[in-house]
Amino acid sequence: MLSDARRAVSGDANYKGSDVVAALPAVARAVILLGALLLAHGLSVRITCAQGLEPAAMLKPAADTWPTYNGDYSGRRFSTLDQINAGNISSLALAWVFRTNTNIKSTPLEVNGVLYFSAPDHVWAIDARYGRELWRYTRKSEGDHIGNRGLGMYKDWLYFTTPDAQLVSLNAKDGTLRWIVELADPKLGYFSTMAPLLIHDHVIAGISGDVTDLRGYLESIDPETGSIQWRWYTTPDPGEPGSETWPKDSDAILHGGGMTWMSGTYDPALNLLYWGTGNPNPVLVGEGRPGDNLYTCSIVALNPDTGALMWYFQPSPHDLHDWDAVETPVLFDAAFKGQPRKLLAQASRNGFFFVLDRATGEHLVTAPFIDQNWASGIDAKGRPIAKPEATPSPDGALVEPGSDGATNWMAPSFDPQTGLFYVNARRLFSIFFKTAQGKAEGWGGRDRNLWANSTLRALDYQTGKVVWNHEIGDGESIAGILTTAGHLLFSADNAGNLLALDPATGKTLWHLNIGGELLASPMTYQLDGRQYLLFAVQDSLYAFALPEKPRASR
């Protein structure tokens, strides 16, 4: 209790309260600190429980926390912190480094002065001011160790997913194991990498696995007991709505894919959960699954309390190129053709940018955000129309983009100050070989990458037009984007340089050769009146801040 009060008091930048309080007699200290605690409680929901995270705090996260994968429910990855800004960015200094021994793709959570982040099989809690380890949890597992995007938090509990498709709950105080529940059968090929999303008393967890022909689904799990609350299947049961987009009397629909492997977004006022789904199976071969294949490669709006489907939009119908539509469905309120609208935007794997009304699912915009050669046009529903020659074939089909996509899981951003949507995009050419003969199982073939380069782009959400373009070099970047109220956009190029750009123009304002690739998305938080900017580069976390003023000597 007392330590929380001291933290609340010393959070005020105007004076070093801890120094003043420490000098008083014990009783006076207790009275003052109790008063400060009550005052702090009134100012912010943050201090409700000792170090944990109250679900209500997620509705309006304190500006200096990062309590969920995308920072908040909207997925905008726009921070209102502006201590670090365009005026002082050239003074940015390294505050501390934390090293691990494995690549980090997760976006850390910051809650009450602690950073929580992950890699496959590993979770760390470190002090967010000084970068010192508090505890570490390790659980070795079988399955695909391609990456882990991060954690979810609820009160004193943490949640993360594993390569063997389990959901693990840990005690956030010390990293001890609380329980493990199975999300999907790893022996069938399922695994999981996503950062669970906490909505009131639901842990929303998704799964991966398209190397074998599996059925995708999304689950809501009780954060206390681990029991399943609901499961929404990406492919419907035969006879259910949407099943008419699959062949009848075939096992295709129950092995149709549609993995749910990236965290979605949520609108508390509408109480709608937005989630993107992955590609259908068999991946490159569509003969056994004629039809649009709902709800694979779709953006769906679900009721988070029941899992009921409220509306859907399909960026890539009858997909044949592994173009998951799992990219963040970013939510923002803005004017569209003169009217204020509640919007949802996705820069999708297939190279197209979509804007929808997120209350109704009404389609508003479709436009390519980068070079592509596979679509001949856009249909009446706003979906791109695939050219026949883009179909994977035994003799090889040259397609731009390749299966790795015109963008991928790395975080996009929407900046309300500029009104621009930002995406890390690729020009990527691949030859798609269909190698399956007879009934396809699994991928049924593969594409071979020929060449790629990457670029950061700003899009006008009303038209999809490219407002500015900032090339970041040869290769396929997976660097995420962060924008801030300090008029800064943070990301990285393909040469190992961290970048700060002007979000209005794309001009470089700051860079640093960090000596490694940004495999994750930057995040930021503020403690004791000091803003920290965090990048996970390869196996290390780098925390930047403005230089501290020298302390007065004692």
Binding site: K187, T212, V283, T435, N449
Partner: protein, 263 residues
């Protein structure tokens, strides 16, 4: 799904389990014997499968009247025939599958075949190293030759009697087709103009928005800050990138038919 760059062949979960299961019974034998013993079992299993199971489950186990066994959870959980054997011996009366009394060896072979089919489906997520070139030869070599000498502008840099002589012998089928469109490891040459006006020519080692590292004519490396010099790049593969943006499907396969004839 997001996948790693394709150069590294991914060893996936079931391949690990399958391999582990297969080698567990034969750990005392040397590796070579193990591999050929396994493939012999798979071959026997394939024949046995056609005979005993194919009429319902399809000759390649992908289903027919009976389910697709490549997608079977039971097969995925099976270890050396423990679960598969039970189903074969007891049948599935409610599903119309008759019991069959097969020997332990026959069941073991069938299990080996089914696990092999599962591994095959997992490994289908890769271009096989030995891909029959016949499948790629859907174009007309004569038209490809015309494209090479005409609209493709290939002859501006290449010649079938010089750099491309016998090129079809140097690469596997899919490698040849891929490299035809875009070869590996481009060499980028550069001309750097210093503030003094002096020019330095060489090959690029590293370039980004801020720094150029190049090797000059003397063989030494030199570094420049981009804001202090002018850099002109001469990318020898620029024409190939332009090709990617222009070539049609027909031209692509015609050109390949021609290139594949340069043996």
């Amino acid at each position: 799904m997001f996948r790693r760059p394709q150069r590294a062949l991914k060893i996936s979960f079931a391949a690990v389990i399958t391999f582990a299961a297969a080698t567990a019974t034969t750990e005392s034998r040397p590796r070579q014997q193990t591999a050929s013993a396994e493939s012999a079992a798979v071959e026997r299993g394939r024949k046995q499968f056609v005979e005993s199971c194919g009429f319902c489950h399809g000759a390649d186990a992908t289903g027919g009247r009976g389910p697709d066994l490549v997608r079977s959870p039971l097969v995925a959980h099976d270890v050396k025939g423990d679960k598969i054997g039970e189903v074969i011996r007891n049948g599935r009366a409610d599903k119309g599958m008759p019991p069959q009394s097969l020997t332990n060896q026959q069941i073991s072979d069938l299990a080996a075949y089914l696990h092999f089919r599962l591994t095959e489906s997992i490994e289908s997520a890769g271009v096989p190293p030995a891909y029959p070139v016949q499948r790629l030869l859907t174009g007309k070599a004569e038209a490809g030759k015309d494209y090479f000498n005409g609209a493709g502008h290939c002859k501006d840099c290449h010649s079938p009697s010089d750099d491309l002589a016998h090129v079809a012998q140097k690469y596997s089928s899919t490698e040849l087709e891929s490299r035809m469109l875009y070869p590996d490891a481009p060499r980028v040459n550069c001309t750097v103009t210093l503030a003094s006006g002096q020019q330095v020519k060489g090959t690029v080692k590293h370039i980004d928005d801020f720094v150029l590292v190049m090797k000059d004519g003397s063989g030494w490396y030199r570094t420049f800050s981009r804001d202090q010099v002018k850099v002109e790049l001469h990318d020898t593969l620029a024409a190939h990138r332009a090709l990617l943006n222009q070539i049609t499907s027909t031209e692509f396969h015609d050109l390949f038919a021609y290139i594949a004839s340069l043996k």
